[in-house]
Amino acid sequence: MTEQPDLRAAVAAGVVGSEESFRALLSAIVEVARSIFGAKASSILLLDPETEELVFEAVVGEGEDTLLGTRFPAGTGIAGWVLATRTPLVIEDVRDDPRFASDVAEDTGYVPKGLMAAPLLHDEGALGVLSVLDRPEQTLFSLQEMELLGLFAYQAAIAVDLLLNARKSRRLLDESGGDLEVVARLATIVDALEDEQREAGLRLLRDLAQTLESPRT
């Protein structure tokens, strides 16, 4: 990595928002998804490409106290199929499916009866899976719900992409050994200023840039 991308990453880390804010966005998405479908729970799983595992990044409803951060292999199970094939599916009454139970319910004792799952697709990549667990019983699934699930997954994928970019910037900043921390701090501070203070801050930075660029004697 050259110095310039590191500096850009430092500026990005200072202004694009914290991991916490993107986590809040993911939580809001799963909360709305659960509410819209009248479901018991909803979650976002992200792929960790290094370990080939799926990780619970956002959970609302049943299991929200225990599942966050939980991992399981990405190659198998229903979520694994959805991720690998980039294809959404809905399955009802999976109570006794041992593979499904090991995916979600091992630690919580919560065994869902139904699952809607859609891949989180961004550009060419499959980033993870959006799941909605246990829609109301005795309501037949409809294609309209599938469309809605797809739209939520699309929105979630954009949020996840932002989160991953923020993490990448933060990681580059950390790897710089703290040298670039001041650049990130400057970007954060100037970004937060308003009106005349902001204009004054930007003027100061422009003057500083000009001074640093001028030939040294």
Partner: protein
């Protein structure tokens, strides 16, 4: 591609002209069977059980011990070996998610005498799954299956050209590739290629109802909502999605091909159009 110089020879062999049709060869390409003036569903598949048609489920494996699936003709698992060689080993693991079992169950129910094989392209690892998918499809085409059910897609653009080539190879080798359409706003393959039969979902309960879409790229709609299917662990579940509409069209293709063995993929697609529920010969 056939030999371009083969303008003469045994008409029974694959020696027909590839690029042109000389006058003395016209008689040799007479169709072996005449189509009725009005192609109906009864003519196309009435009484058929899919007898002898070889169907490949390219998916997560198949649990053959499930009573709704029954005996498989073969089952292999695809992996990438040394030097990126594609390896097909006998699959003793069965189904790693349940989806392949569901697809096989739909085919068994609608075309009970079809010969079903499983080519597993999922589960060995997530990384490299694209290469395994391509390798599995190539393997299935080389095996000369009559129909390949592909309830999956890839969003990786570098794979698109290879998939396109494979889809065309299947088409010219008389292997029908039936692929799930994507219902999300992304580019994915191979369902968008015109040499495959692409399938979306409808909500009607009749498993043999299928609709022609006059506004492609999705060409047909099959039953894909609230479908009872076998699942791993001997379970029966209700499922929805284009990936379950696909084996419905696969089954319909098998029924037609069992009755009309001479059909090319182009002709089969024509029969599907003429016998679709929303077209003249649908009922």
């Amino acid at each position: 591609m056939q030999d371009v110089a083969g303008h003469s020879g045994d008409a029974g062999k694959a020696a027909l002209p590839a690029w042109s049709l000389p006058k003395d060869s016209v008689d040799r390409i007479a169709l072996p069977a005449h189509w009725p003036e009005r192609v109906t569903r009864e003519w196309a598949l009435g009484g058929s059980t899919g007898d002898g048609v070889r169907v490949c489920i390219l998916d997560s494996g198949v649990e053959a011990s499930h009573p709704m699936v029954g005996e498989l003709e073969s089952a292999v698992v695809i992996s990438v070996g040394e030097d990126d060689q594609i390896v097909a080993d006998e699959d003793t693991e069965g189904d790693v998610s349940g989806h392949g079992t569901a697809c096989a169950g739909i085919v068994r129910r609608l075309a009970p005498d079809a010969r079903i094989s499983s080519v597993r392209v999922l589960g060995s690892s997530f990384t490299g799954s694209g290469a395994v998918l391509l390798g599995g499809l190539r393997y299935a085409i080389e095996q000369g299956f009559d129909v390949i059910n592909m309830s999956l897609s890839t969003t990786k653009k570098p794979f698109a050209s290879v998939l396109h080539e494979l889809a065309d190879t299947a088409y010219f080798n008389r292997t029908v590739l039936v692929a799930s359409a994507h219902n999300m706003p992304v580019e994915s393959y191979p369902w968008r290629f015109s040499s495959v039969i692409s399938v979306g979902s409808h909500e009607e309960p009749d498993p043999l109802d299928f609709f022609y879409n006059p506004s492609p790229p999705v060409e047909f709609f099959g039953r894909g909502v609230n479908v009872q299917v076998p699942w791993v662990g001997g379970r029966v579940v209700s499922v929805s999605g284009n990936s379950f509409a696909t084996p419905h069209l696969t089954s319909i293709c098998a029924l037609i091909m069992a009755k009309h063995r001479e059909l090319t993929p182009f002709q089969l697609k024509s029969v599907l159009y003429l016998t679709a529920t929303n077209v003249g010969g649908g009922k």
